[in-house]
Amino acid sequence: MMRFLLLFSRQGKLRLQKWFTPLTDREKKKVIRDVMALVLARPPRSCNFLHWRDIKVVYKRYASLYFCTGLEDQDNELLTLEVLHRYVELLDKYFGNVCELDIIFNFEKAYYILDEFLMGGEVLETSKVAVSVSMENADTLQETMEEYMNRPAF
């Protein structure tokens, strides 16, 4: 299973953090610091896999953002690269030509999409279409409910 998923920029700013194991705030900050330092120090065309403490770190750079995740021993690293790619595709489909600013200004949507794709550190839905459909439906529900609630109740 994945232990965490981090998105951060080249300058070291965190854009998204998802933790699949319970850690204290201090531990989380430490992990972020260490992993960021390791990943940002890598030269451009190097291997996408690292070893840090007892977990395997898999990272991929998309434009200005690093997508980085920590795996346990049994997990398939190559498949995790595909998982990261699939997440980027989902974001792209939702936002239309996604860029870092989209994720900054709509971070809660990024989290919702992530929650439709991954759960508990495992892949939840393997079909791109299914994830997009459920996001649309949830968004529609949110808008209609808001409209509904704004009407006078009688």
Binding site: L14, R15, L16, Q17, F20, P22, L23, T24, K29, P43, R45, S46, C47, N48, F49, L50, H51, Q74, N76, E77, L78, L79, L81, E82, V83, R86, I104, F105, N106, F107, E108, K109, Y111, Y112, D115, M119, G120, E122, V123, L124, E125, T126, S127, K128, V129, A130, S134, N137, A138, D139, L141, Q142, E143, M145, E146, M149, N150
Partner: protein
């Protein structure tokens, strides 16, 4: 979708702050506003406020005051508020917080909500941060959802069950029936979730694993469907149909087939099919192939399949993509123990990967190369490894150096090669080797007696080039001290001849002593080596004496002590100096408590102080035998006596022992003339003490016209005989026989072997030292039985 305007405005404001201070100001103002809003009654903008708080939290600022707001929002009937509330719960609350218990009830209610999206929020949150108590509470609910709901909820419930099982192992039993039935679903999401759940259940409980083995045919069927099916737009990734599900099923098959012949047999065909049919041009295909290879290697597959798997790994090794090469080496590392020959075939490629630019690949290649070293390829592998060592990144140096040493120790084809290799490593990476390398290397050098000349020349040259690597300098100093005479002799058939004068050697040692790069231990080595040279050179003894006396006032206590004691050796105990500083014996490995480098120093400095202590019988052996230091009886004085004093290595004459202890007893019984040369005569008389014991008294006198000083006698006896030499009466023989020197020797012959004794006479006549040896085969007053 309507973006949250207040949220976006705040984000814009924060991003436009030019300094950290300004940003902090903006955030403080916003947080104050949010807190105020939280305290107010329900208004339309609650979700926006919480979203703002979550953004601030992500920047790293404290946001714990939002926890209660999350709880309230989750309980709200509005979906937008629930959504943000649950997101806040996942970000701000974790199982360690007390507030997390408060949402248990809300989650329970939402799990039975009529709207599936609300249910999914609850499931997601439970799977993310559900504590053990919450899991216990809600497990039956999850089980219900696993059975009777739509596929959207089923897949989420399955992964939620996985979380529950990870948290509370005992609840696994609860989910087994549901998991079993989910395998017949068609929806890929549900199927995937079911497989993950089954994997988790099997890993937790071996009995469950037994029960799930019956599902292997079903899994094989599903997998075949995926592999052979045509293009499916919904699940296709670069030509592979649903790789995520395929990899999961392969992993479950691995767990089920491990250590089980039947299950493994039923998988063989499928695995072969997947291995051959999967397109390996893209990463996706390689991911599936990788999982297949791992599965094949882990179950009891037939040999043809295993060969296929290793060949796939071999192909991976030649792939241009670094990632693929990395994982190939990781997998080969796992099987190098069991399928060693198969991996050996790819040794060339692996060794090439040592030269890769990437640090991760290099690390893997190093570990794999070290595992592949064997007696047949040691020379070529070592060449590559040494090349690697000279250019490897610093974090890998220590590992590489110790790996090389281990390999060299196990498979060294010759001693000279071994010594060369160790020297090479010390020169290249001397700073990164472990501490016990120095004594190990010294022990190795003493063992290779025919290479002493070659070794000392090489080390001397290395010392001239660079004195910063402490381990190398320590070994070099030790060798120059020990084998200085060979160094100065100059000719050595193995290296080009170079003339080294005594001054050169002393210069080198002095440089080490004075350099600020030398550690205190290294300087100790250098000082002892300088002292040892005093017996091996002839001209510059005064220079040595002055060096040693300078360090008598050195601020380092260790050096000072050594220097003072060496000084004493020069002044008061000069007659013993030659014996004390003689060649070291061949050192046995693992003799208790000895680190060779240190003991020479300690031994020499302890000798003068040991003069007053009681001695113990020490084993003496014939010249051709090695000395086993560990055999001698324990005692404080013994270490220094044996190690410091000359017990000769193989091939040199006279295994001698100088004993400084005990009293002096005259004993006479028909003295026999044993030696007569140059005016020096030695007579011998014996007295039988017991059935096996004998006391021999040696008397020396000088009938020549010149005084003799530093007169010493040393004796050697056959292996099983024990010898104990008492202190001589004096060490000077004045001319014309005016005084004699007597020395008593106690022998114990328990095995009653034929008694022989070899005696070495050494003295200084008019400033020049003289040595001679005499063999005594018959002892007067002895029966033939003794």
């Amino acid at each position: 979708m309507s973006p949250s305007v207040p949220l976006q405005e705040m984000i814009r404001a924060i991003r436009s702050a030019r300094t950290q201070c300004e940003e902090r100001g903006v955030i403080q103002r916003e947080c104050a506003a949010i807190r105020a809003q939280f305290r107010q009654a329900d208004n339309g903008g609650r979700s926006h406020n919480l979203a703002k708080l979550l953004y601030v939290h992500m920047l790293g600022y404290p946001a714990h005051f939002g926890q209660m707001e999350c709880v309230r929002m989750i309980a709200s009937p509005r979906y937008s508020e629930k959504r943000v509330g649950y997101l806040g719960a996942m970000m701000l609350l974790d199982e360690k917080q007390d507030a997390s218990l408060l949402i248990t009830n809300s989650i329970k209610n939402d799990l039975s909500h009529s709207n599936q999206y609300v249910q999914s929020l609850a499931l997601c949150t439970l799977a993310c941060m559900g504590s053990a108590e919450m899991c216990r509470d809600l497990a039956p609910e999850i089980d219900r959802l696993l059975r009777a709901s739509n596929s959207y909820i089923k897949k989420k419930a399955a992964l939620c069950a996985v979380h529950i099982v990870r948290k509370v192992h005992e609840l696994g039993e609860l989910f087994v029936p549901a998991a079993r039935s989910l395998l017949s679903e068609k929806n890929h999401g549900v199927l995937h979730g079911a497989v993950v759940l089954i994997i988790e259940l099997c890993e937790q409980n071996p009995e469950t694993l037994e029960r799930f083995r019956k599902t292997v045919p079903d899994l094989v069927q599903i997998m075949k469907g995926l592999v052979l099916s045509g293009y499916s737009p919904e699940h296709d990734v670069a030509g592979i149909s649903d790789p995520f599900l395929q990899v999961r099923i392969l992993r479950l098959l691995r767990i089920l087939g491990r250590n089980n012949e039947g299950a493994s047999d039923s998988m063989n065909d499928l695995l072969a099919q997947v291995a051959t049919n999967t397109d390996s041009t893209k990463t996706v295909g390689n991911a599936v192939l990788y999982e297949t290879v791992l599965t094949v290697l882990d179950i009891k597959s037939e040999s043809g399949l295993r060969v296929l798997a290793v060949n796939i790994l071999g192909r991976f090794l030649l792939n241009n993509d670094r990632n693929i090469r990395y994982i190939a080496m990781t997998s080969l590392q796992k099987i190098v123990g069991t399928d060693h020959n198969a991996v050996q075939r790819h040794r060339g490629t692996i060794v090439d990967c040592l030269k890769d630019q990437d640090a991760s690949v290099k690390r893997r290649a190093l570990e794999l190369s070290l595992a592949l070293v064997s007696a047949s390829n040691i020379r070529s592998m070592m060449k590559e490894l040494l090349l690697f060592l000279s250019s490897c990144p610093p974090e890998l140096r220590a590992h590489a150096a110790s790996g090389i040493f281990n390999a060299a120790e196990r498979y060294a084809p010759s001693q000279r090669w071994h010594i060369d290799t160790m020297l090479h490593v010390l020169i290249t990476a001397g700073g990164d080797v472990r501490d016990e390398t120095v004594p190990n290397l010294i022990q190795l050098i003493t063992n290779a007696s025919e290479l002493h000349c070659y070794t000392v020349h090489k080390l001397y040259r290395a010392l001239l080039l660079d004195i910063s690597q402490q381990s190398l300098v320590q070994v070099a100093c030790w060798c120059i001290g020990e084998y200085g005479d060979l160094l100065l002799k100059g000719d050595c058939q193995e290296t080009e001849p170079v003339q080294v004068t005594e001054d050169d050697a002393l210069d080198a040692l002095e440089t080490v002593l004075q350099s600020h790069m030398s550690s205190p231990a290294t300087r100790g080595f250098a000082l002892t080596a300088t002292m040892k040279l005093s017996t091996r050179i002839t001209d510059n003894v005064d220079r040595i004496r002055s060096i040693v006396s300078i360090y008598g006032s050195c601020i380092d206590v260790e050096l000072q002590q050594r220097a003072v004691e060496y000084n004493a050796l020069f002044r008061k105990y000069d007659h013993m100096r030659a014996a004390v500083l003689e060649r070291m014996p061949v050192i046995e490995k693992n003799s208790p408590g000895h680190t060779n480098g240190e003991s020479t120093g300690e031994a020499v400095k302890d000798v003068p102080t040991a003069k007053m202590k009681q001695g113990e019988p020490l084993l003496l052996q014939q010249p051709a035998n090695q000395v086993h230091r560990s055999d001698h009886p324990p005692g404080p004085a013994v270490d220094c006596l044996v190690s410091g004093l000359s017990v000769h290595a193989a091939g040199t004459a006279g295994g001698d022992l100088l004993d400084l202890l005990g009293g002096f007893e005259p004993a006479e019984l028909s003295p026999v003339l044993a030696y007569d040369k140059g005016g020096v005569t030695l007579t011998l008389s014996c007295e039988k003490q017991s059935d096996t014991g004998l006391t021999v008294t040696l008397t020396a006198s000088n009938s020549s016209d010149s005084d003799l000083s530093s007169f010493t006698l040393q004796a050697a006896v056959p292996k099983s005989v024990q010898l104990h030499m008492k202190a001589p009466s004096g060490d000077s023989l004045p001319a014309r026989g005016t005084a004699k020197v007597t020395q008593m020797v106690v022998l114990n012959n328990p095995n009653k072997v034929n008694l022989k004794m070899r005696v070495r006479v050494s003295y200084t006549r008019q400033g020049s030292p003289f040595q001679d040896t005499v063999q005594i085969d018959s002892f007067p007053g002895l029966d033939s039985q003794l």
